[in-house]
Symmetry: C2
Subunit: 327 residues, 2 copies
């Protein structure tokens, strides 16, 4: 592999925390915070919206916000979501007014949802208001919701089908996941720029996000999976499973209940045909051989990103592995 | 006049601060905080909605909220509006996100607007969500918006026609008011209960609110003025002008620019035919004769209410003046 002297066009498929951290690393590794130049060289994150929800009449987009807040350096890193230095005066008053407030919304975070909701009601697409909010917070990379249309992940559990945030937040992802439905995906259109960002990428990265809850709903939008499969980009995924466990969230349980091996190899099998390179953690070095047997290249490194330095390191290693040295 | 031994049916026409204070006094004077009994004996406030506005996509109803917050004992008495102990984290973040935030909204206050907006979008009438919010805050009197329909006060100024809050808040009511339009009034229906509360009242009180900005838009809803004019209730108004000046707000300037005398007598002339009794301040005792010449009874007392004790005192005096001693 030869290294290219110019910044690559990098497109990231991302969910929440894992996607946001790798997006942050790529933004740090690429020139200008990942701001795309006139030829699209830079970072585009294509983000899951299956976890979007309506709370108190406001449109909440947790994955989009986690990516934007993280790139803005404003994410609450201890919790993994929401803004730093939050207060909860509005939520406490909503409780007092009789609202069911199991979904925590900070005062500053609410401003995002208020602006987004007003924009959507006025007919502005989700992608447009997301770009506006990201720019206002100083984010230079391009953040695209995978679709401007309604797409909602529904979770089949032993006690029935529930909305995603009901499963994830209210019931603390304690239920066994028997199946997933991406309501609206069948008729959703990719947001403007999404397909071009996939087919025109030099490097296509699948973030260490939950394959079922974060990546699958992105791929479920018509045209997206085909664009990834047919892309001429070098395509690299990072396993969200390290040492048989998820870095965060219920990925391990879901792999298990849906009948997959709970390992980086199990993830690699899911991504065969979608990516060329599988990135696994040092702890899983023994799985490199079996993953190569699937026809994938393997990068073995420290995939647990932690803070900004670790994120940038991993991003640079991924880019180097597919022949692009970040300038 | 004889005093009735049972609580009267009291209906108050109210705008913001002056209306809220007198509503509070009446609620304190009547049994059970003014909670209507099975026969409607208690307090009903019919409140202006011409100053309602949409900010950041949220439906804000300043007069309704001032009345509800004041009756709940939660109003910020220093400012005259909003809730006590407010913070502004959401507003500051809205500013950061590029929103134009000249209309101040506290974090707790926002909860009201969020709940109301969600309810209205879901098809709940303004009167229903107002009742729900008032009950949640412990208000026992009945608070009715004059209409559930859209009614917006527009203000003609030397620099053109502007929306009410543009005139009142953004431009700090500094413009000369050349005329007023109550947009939507022509087709608005009185909210459920409004006409009954007017025609079935024992005592009908016009609060010391701005006659043009607060009382006129209430009267502009079809059927309301006729119900007041034909009501068999004893009808009493309190002058918002004391010693030739308004207690609060631009009532004096508007009387002047619209060609009325800036005095309790000027106000009494506006209310001739609507009320039987005019209540004026001790400072205006000299106007009692000219007001009686209009065919009105006159009560001269201290009309500047101040805190709860002064509000209750004035309320009791008004009720006594029309033959109803509060039990």
């Amino acid at each position: 592999m030869s290294s290219s002297p110019v910044a690559p066009r990098v497109t990231l498929l991302a969910g929440g925390v894992g996607g946001a951290r790798l997006a942050h690393g790529l933004a740090l590794a690429l020139p200008g915070g990942g701001a795309p130049d006139d030829e699209g060289r830079g970072l585009t994150a294509v983000v899951n919206v299956g976890d979007d929800t309506e709370r108190h009449g406001l449109h909440v987009a947790p994955d989009l916000d986690t990516v934007v807040y993280t790139l803005a350096g404003a994410n609450d890193e201890d919790r993994g979501w929401g803004l730093q230095g939050e207060s909860y005066a509005t939520l406490e008053q909503l409780t007092r007014l009789g609202e069911d407030t199991w979904f925590t919304l900070g005062d500053k975070d609410l401003a995002t949802h208020v602006v987004r909701t007003a924009a959507l009601r006025a007919g502005e697409p989700l992608s447009a208001v997301t770009a506006r909010l990201a720019a206002a917070l100083g984010v230079r990379a391009r953040i695209l919701p995978v679709t401007d249309d309604r797409l909602r992940t529904l979770v089949d559990t032993p006690s029935g089908r529930v909305a995603f945030q009901e499963y994830f937040v209210r019931r603390r992802h304690a239920d066994a996941v028997l199946g997933l439905t991406f309501d609206g995906a069948g008729t959703a259109l990719p947001a403007p720029g999404v397909l071009d960002a996939l087919t025109g990428a030099d490097v296509l990265v699948v973030a260490p996000s939950n394959p079922f809850l974060s990546v699958d709903p992105v791929l479920a939008v018509p045209g997206v999976r085909a664009a990834v499969e047919s892309s001429t980009a070098r395509r690299v995924a990072v396993s969200p499973i390290v040492g048989g466990r998820a870095i965060k969230g219920p990925a391990a349980q879901i792999l298990e209940t849906l009948g997959h091996e709970v390992s980086a190899l199990g993830v690699a099998r899911l991504y065969t045909g979608l990516v060329d390179v599988m990135t696994i953690d040092d702890a899983d070095a023994a799985l490199a051989g079996p993953i190569r047997d699937l026809g994938l290249d393997v990068v073995v490194t420290d995939t647990v990103m932690g803070g900004p330095a670790g994120r940038e390191r991993l991003a640079r290693e991924l880019l180097a592995a597919v022949g692009h040295r970040a300038p």
